[in-house]
Amino acid sequence: MTRALIVDDEEDMRFLVRTVIEAANNGLEVAGEAADGDAAIAYWRAERPEVVVLDHRMPGLSGLEVAERILAESPEQRIILFSAYLDPETTAEATRVGVDLCLAKSDYSRLPEALWRLAPPA
């Protein structure tokens, strides 16, 4: 199973991502949800999901700040930056930090495919 942690401050977005992942099924599973960066890091430490799906603009820590902290502890962690607005600066910064993939929220239907590719279910 490939377990994904969903991090987004918007409950609607978390719910949408969960629904998309659950609908795709086929070896994908939602490990849990977090509404901000601190909760995400705590959850990640406890559960070690295969992939973290991270929103960028959130209260407190930004998505990229969360990614930076997680990758400092575990450089092999798979992370998808899932943001409504991806400008070239953000994408470049994400690459520098070590995020595996940037996906615009409007491309939510491609999320299952991205998860499979990053962490093929065993």
Binding site: D12, L16, P59, L61, S83, K105, Y108
Partner: protein, 666 residues
């Protein structure tokens, strides 16, 4: 609103000086060499007077030019004329400025009319000039009482034809010239001078013997002619006329013509030489000041030059800011403390006495020259120093303008950065609800049969909520666009505020997610409001409060009746707004400096719109902190007073009950 324009055409009131020096009238027959010398002296004296007069008219012309530039503003609010107007009047030759409206009454805006000339008489006296000015669009001079007045037409909008000018004219601005000082200031003892405007004498005709000179200058489209007669009996007068052309200075291209006329008697050749040297020094200051925009570089050089030439014990250029606060000092010689007298004495400056010469520009004092001479300085030397003061004033003012321009450029660049950030934010803000809407509708479409009834309803609720917040955002953007082009308007009527608020809160609750709204609304509050504006205000304040609240925390809305206003508050238990940010949150694009504000959604336009709407309804809005944490937004709106309490003792007029109650002061 239509633009206002005043009749001001380049060169319309240019001085065309025609000096007819030596135009001797009634000259005596040359009997002897001595007679000849005396007569030449008298002629030179008269010519000097005409030159001084022409220079004074040039000063008047410049003042009138400045008044013409201000005319639309003067005419728009005669009771609150532009701040620089009094300063203009104190400068040169214009003693009063009045407004004659096309239909209403005349009003004196600044200065004092000459004795015996009433404001009401201006219209009659100037009738012909008013017509010419109105039809041509150019300032035109006329005679008012014993004074000359230049009338400047002011139109509503831009006008191109005589016909259009006649209909678009709203008023005239009248600049009353001080004839007495204009003529009196130029003539010397024993001389007689007769001034006429367009052939009509405005000074009493005087019979005089002597040698005459005359000059004709143009002011406001009218020839001003001054005939000066100097007595020959007075003996030879040594005349030295020094006219200085102190070149074009700086970006403003200001042309300063300093004319220093030495007409004192019994001056030795040596004194004249010294005088010439001093005036040359002043002339050289112009180019010196132009060398650099760095005042710290040029002003000390100027100070050294002047203090050498005029044998000054001390010399300082003191610059002050817009509110008179000291900005900079450049000094040479001993540094003085305390206040120096502003120089007014006519007989020059005594040795060792410290005086100050004001630096004037654009109607305000931008600083002063503070100096103390080692030896007595004559009035002519003081005049030369005044010329230097004018040059320094122009130069420092140009530097100030340049710096201001630079500051504007910096501000615009900052605004540009903010707008870039704004576009990024707004894209994010628009895409989030759009993604949710399209995501859930697609799910419903593709998986309708797999979804339970309950899930379908849940999806639809989410679609509804996101379209509501999208709609709110679009409303904000539209209001903001209106605000930017100053087209955001409210239309107030008396309304029971509690039901307006309660109705809208019920509507907006679903968009606030898991944040319940607790209301505490007084029921007796009738306020003058625009219900749509109240909706926009509440939508913004409530979504903001919800946005910054911890999960599940309630948002509180309260309404109570204050002394003179309805007080509506929206409170949250969020992290609060830093005290230093509380005033700035109403600035467009501003979203606070804190991490929380930066990373939270919001385009930074909502509160700018709220502020504008509340202000337009005659209210105000403020931010208050809560203990231990949270924010309260306090909106005060004018109460709708019952008409009879406003009218007070007066008997109620018929139909008063139908009147919209007067707005109370916020």
């Amino acid at each position: 609103m239509a633009t206002r324009s005043a009749g001001l055409t380049g060169g319309a009131i240019a001085v065309a000086a025609v000096l007819t020096a030596g135009g001797a009238i009634g000259a005596r027959a040359a009997g002897s060499a001595a007679d000849n010398a005396r007569e030449n002296g008298a002629r030179r004296a008269a010519t000097a007077t005409t030159r001084a007069f022409a220079a004074s008219v040039e000063g008047v012309r410049r003042t009138v030019d400045s008044v013409a530039l201000l005319a639309p503003r003067i005419a728009a609010s005669p009771t609150a004329p532009p701040a620089q107007l009094p300063g203009l009047l104190s400068e040169r030759g214009v003693r009063a400025v009045a407004v004659l409206s096309a239909t209403g009454h005349p009003a004196v805006v600044a200065g004092v009319l000459p004795e015996g000339l009433a404001a009401a008489a201006l219209r009659a006296d100037l009738a012909a000039a008013l017509d010419v000015a109105r039809d041509t669009g150019d300032p035109h001079a006329g005679v008012a009482g014993r004074d000359i007045a230049v009338v400047i037409p002011v139109y509503d909008g831009m006008v191109a034809s005589t016909e259009a000018r006649r209909t678009a004219l709203t008023s005239w601005v009248v600049a009353v010239v001080d004839v007495k000082s204009l003529v009196g200031g130029a003539t010397a003892d024993g001389e007689t001078a007769v001034l006429s405007v367009g052939g009509i004498p405005v000074t009493p005709a005087a019979k005089a013997d002597g040698t005459s000179a005359d000059v004709t200058v143009d002011l406001g489209g009218q020839p001003l002619q001054l005939v000066v007669t100097a007595p020959v009996e007075g003996g030879a007068r040594a005349i030295a006329v020094v006219i200085l052309l102190l070149g074009i200075l700086g970006a403003a291209g200001a042309l300063l013509v300093g004319a220093i006329a030495e007409r004192a008697l019994r001056r030795s050749r040596a004194t004249t030489d010294a005088l010439e040297r001093e005036t040359r020094t002043v002339a050289e200051i112009g180019p010196l000041l132009q060398q650099s925009l760095d005042l710290a570089e040029v002003l000390p050089a100027v100070a050294v030059r002047l203090s050498d030439e005029f044998q000054l014990e001390s010399f300082a250029v003191e610059l002050v800011g817009e509110h008179g606060e000291p900005v900079d000092v450049f000094s040479v010689g001993r540094r003085s403390v305390g206040d120096a007298e502003v120089f007014i004495a006519p007989e020059g400056i005594p040795a060792g006495v410290e005086v100050a010469l004001p630096l004037l520009r654009a109607g305000r004092t931008i600083g002063r020259l503070r100096l103390a001479p080692r030896d007595h300085l004559s009035t002519i030397q003081v005049d030369a120093l005044r010329g230097a003061a004018d040059l320094i004033a122009v130069a420092t003012y140009n530097v100030e303008l340049y710096e201001r321009e630079q500051a504007t450029v910096r501000r615009l660049q900052e605004l540009d950065t903010l707008k870039d950030a704004f576009l990024g934010t707004i894209s994010h803000e628009l895409r989030t609800p759009i993604t949710a809407i399209s995501g859930f509708t697609r799910m419903l479409n593709e998986r309708w049969d797999d979804l339970s009834e309950e899930m379908r309803r849940d999806f639809l609720r989410r679609v509804g909520r996101n379209s509501a917040s999208l709609g709110m955002l679009v409303d904000d953007l539209l209001d903001f666009a209106r605000l930017e082009r100053q087209a955001l308007q409210t239309n107030v009527t008396p309304m029971p505020l509690d039901s307006v608020v309660a109705g809208f809160v019920a509507q907006v609750v679903p968009a606030l997610g898991d944040h319940p709204v607790e209301t505490d609304l007084a029921s007796d509050v009738v306020a003058l409001v625009d219900p749509r504006a109240i909706e926009r205000v509440l939508a913004n304040l409530l979504t903001n409060a919800a946005k910054f609240s911890p999960p599940g925390a309630p948002v509180e809305v309260a309404l109570r009746k204050g002394e003179a206003s309805a007080v509506l508050t929206v409170s949250d238990r969020g992290p609060g707004i830093a005290a230093e940010d509380r005033l700035r949150v109403f600035t467009r694009f501003y979203r606070g400096e804190s991490d929380i504000a930066r990373s939270t959604r919001g385009a930074g336009i909502g509160l700018a719109v709220v502020h504008e709407l509340v202000t337009q309804m005659g209210g105000d809005i403020a931010v208050r902190g809560r203990e231990p944490n949270g924010t309260t937004m306090v909106v005060r709106l004018p109460l709708a007073e019952p008409a009879e309490t406003v009218i007070d003792d007066l008997p109620a007029p018929r139909g008063a009950e139908d009147l919209i109650p007067a707005r109370s002061k916020p």
